[in-house]
């Protein structure tokens, strides 16, 4: 496959959004037809390919226009699931990195010492006096 044909195929691929199996089958079919074209037009440039096969955007939109809406929706739903999973994974990784950093930092610069809790209390004795006590 020559450079022009490769570029054409890649330009069509960019605008195809559907389930992978259908995309793969379509692009394989297109590739076969492009190679047949290449056989009969070995010196064809990009413009000649476009004249015979259509502008890549149009070919892709023609294909997308023929696919049932539910198939496109399904592909986008999968993309959404993958995107959400990626965001969650990034968040978990970020939390892990921050926690590791804090842990490493405290190990390098000494441990954090917690202040003892001091509780003050009082009671009234038999003489009616207030007695204050400190409990550690």
């Amino acid at each position: 496959m020559n450079k022009q044909t490769k570029k054409y195929l890649s330009d069509v691929r960019k605008d195809i959004h559907c389930k992978t199996s259908l995309k793969k089958a379509f692009l394989s079919e297109l590739k076969g037809n492009l190679l047949d074209f290449e056989d009969t037009h070995p010196d064809a440039d990009y413009e000649q390919i476009c004249r015979s096969f259509g502008i890549p955007e149009n070919v892709a939109s023609e294909f997308m226009g023929s696919i049932e809406v539910k198939e496109i929706k399904k592909a986008f739903q999968w993309k959404k699931v993958v995107l959400i999973a990626a965001v969650v994974a990034i968040l978990i990784l970020a939390i892990y990195v921050v926690a590791s950093f804090i842990d490493g930092h405290s190990q390098m610069h000494g441990t954090i010492v917690e202040n003892p809790i001091v509780e003050n209390t009082y009671y009234v004795n038999e003489n009616g006096e207030y007695i204050f006590e400190t409990i550690n």
């Binding site: 069509v12 259908l22 089958a25 379509f26 079919e29 297109l30 076969g32 037809n33 190679l35 047949d36 074209f37 096969f53 259509g54 149009n58 070919v59 892709a60 939109s61 023609e62 294909f63 226009g65 023929s66 696919i67």
Partner: protein, 115 residues
């Protein structure tokens, strides 16, 4: 090319592709060329439409394909019509003829009834 013409072609493409395959087995690029040649350039449909129609027709069992090795390593898919495809073609031809007949009746009337 007008959008109306595009829609018309899209609607009739399946019928024409099945018709061509009922005569002989062909591969995708050949189908594209034959359509253009026989219509003297009046009926050109984009590669995307042909590929998708072939994929869907094969999935539905209207056409079957066989892979033939061309040159050293290349595989070319030849399509041919199945029995189910012949029934589908007949149905599409009947619908097409009926629709065209109806359209001609409307155009032939010259809109006189509507006045």
């Amino acid at each position: 090319m007008g959008q109306g013409q595009d829609n018309f072609k899209r609607g009739t493409a399946e019928m024409l592709l099945l018709f061509l395959l009922s005569k002989e087995e062909m591969y995708g690029y050949q189908l594209m060329n034959v359509l253009s040649e026989r219509s003297e350039g009046r009926y050109n449909i984009l590669e995307g439409t042909i590929s998708l129609l072939m994929l869907k027709s094969e999935e539905a069992g209207f056409v079957k394909s066989k892979s033939v090795t061309v040159g050293k390593r290349r595989i070319r898919k030849y399509y041919s019509l199945t029995e189910k495809g012949e029934e589908r073609l007949q149905k599409l031809l009947d619908e097409y003829k009926d629709t065209v007949f109806g359209i001609q009746m409307i155009l032939g009337s010259g809109g006189e009834d509507g006045e």
